[in-house]
């Protein structure tokens, strides 16, 4: 369960930040979840709820915001959505991208010019957007 590893990193980072701010508890956290990583949201949410127990994040409201993945070719400038090419990828490939999203450069090519030289302009993976705390 790769989602657990990422959930653990979110809780650890949030608690670290709150401690540095001398906060007594975390009340809310907003986490962006990029589409490219194909996170199972139910598992991720369950993992967050389990891992936060016994920490100053225990009673925090957790908001998960899904972010669409957009890719842009550095060669021809074409922009496209990951979901437009996702159905053409077999399960093994989307699994590889799930583990390490940079594998997109191994298996995906620009639909216009076939270049692997593109950037993921948004929606790569897990990102903490904001944390609300009480002192």
């Amino acid at each position: 369960m790769h989602e657990w590893a990422l959930a653990e990193s979110v809780v650890m980072t949030a608690v670290d930040i709150a401690n540095k701010e001398d906060a007594s508890k975390i009340t809310k956290i907003i986490v962006k979840v990029g589409e490219l990583q194909q996170i199972e949201l139910d598992i991720f949410k369950y993992a967050l709820d389990e891992i936060k127990k016994g920490t100053i994040m225990e009673n925090a409201e957790i908001v998960l915001e899904e972010e669409e993945a957009i890719l842009k070719c550095r060669v021809c400038g074409h922009e496209w959505k990951y979901k437009d090419v996702l159905e053409k990828l077999n399960e093994d490939i989307s699994e590889a991208i799930h583990f390490v999203p940079e594998m997109a450069h191994t298996y995906i090519r620009c639909p216009k010019c076939n270049s692997p030289d593109f950037e993921v302009i948004k929606g790569r993976g897990v990102w903490i957007k904001s944390i609300e705390v009480e002192r």
Binding site: M1, H2, W4, A5, L6, E8, S9, V10, M12, T13, A14, D16, I17, V31, E95, A96, F99, V100, P101, E102, M103, H105, T106, Y107, P116, D117, E119, R124, G125, V126, W127, I128
Partner: protein, 240 residues
């Protein structure tokens, strides 16, 4: 904020020593040295991990003959499969035989991801097979793996040595511990490498002679351990 960075240190908590096998230049035998070092330490009874950080040209699995067809198993993260007594992790499990063209930011992201999700457990040694040079992977290793020590590999070539001198200077400037320099594929009696390394104030660990028959052992852990290269390397790293 990227949540993955904070957990990396925690993932490496159970590891006593982390040794990055590095060089300024490719083709000097970093991967062979890293793979053999992992094998040698495992044979001595240590718990050993091997991480191939060469994202463009991962090759430790070829040297050790490790099958990478299956994805590693998952248990709240990735569990590196154990082969030849070594817990082995590489991007090649996911990239297979395909080229992986990555720019700097992607390299850093991939390294952070691998370090954040891999659960090594308790190890005496984690050996890192580094890509050549002083680019993203080297800087990220120094930044993200605070307890890493560097074992530097060169050949007798003046060209290779000059790039190694730059790597050593950078590591010293950044106060990164350097175990020493190994002169690999030695074919003459020149003391040039030894003298140059000593002038830099770094330990010259010794040399490994060029072995024409070494290539025959690539792909077999058993054959590798019988090579003169492995025997000599075992002596050089005797008191790690």
């Amino acid at each position: 904020m990227d949540p993955r960075v904070a957990i990396i240190e925690h993932r490496l908590d159970g590891i006593k020593r982390i040794i990055a096998v590095a060089s300024g230049k490719g083709g000097v035998g970093k991967s062979v040295t890293a793979s053999l070092l992992a094998l040698i330490l495992a044979k001595r009874g240590y718990h050993v991990g091997l991480l191939d950080l060469d994202l463009y040209g991962p090759s430790s699995h070829i040297i050790l003959g490790i099958d990478v067809d299956e994805y590693p198993s998952e248990d709240k993260g990735i569990i590196p499969p154990e082969r030849h007594g070594i817990r082995f992790m590489s991007i090649v499990y996911y990239s297979k035989e395909h080229p992986t063209p990555l720019r700097g930011e992607d390299v850093t992201n991939a390294i952070i991801e691998v370090l954040a999700i891999t659960r090594w457990g308790n190890l005496d040694f984690l050996i890192i097979d580094m890509p050549p040079g002083i680019g993203d992977e080297t800087l990220d290793t120094i930044r993200l793996i605070k307890k890493s020590e560097f074992l530097v590999v060169t050949t007798p070539s003046k060209v290779a040595l000059q790039t190694v001198v730059k790597l050593v200077k950078l590591l010293k400037e950044l106060n990164v511990p350097i175990i020493g320099v190994i002169e690999n594929m030695k074919f003459d009696d020149s003391a040039y490498v030894k003298d140059t390394v000593s002038e830099l104030g770094v330990k010259y660990l010794g040399y490994v002679p060029f072995d024409k028959s070494f290539e025959d052992a690539v792909g077999s852990a058993e054959k590798l351990m019988k090579t003169d290269v492995a025997k000599k390397l075992s002596e050089l790293v005797g008191n790690l």
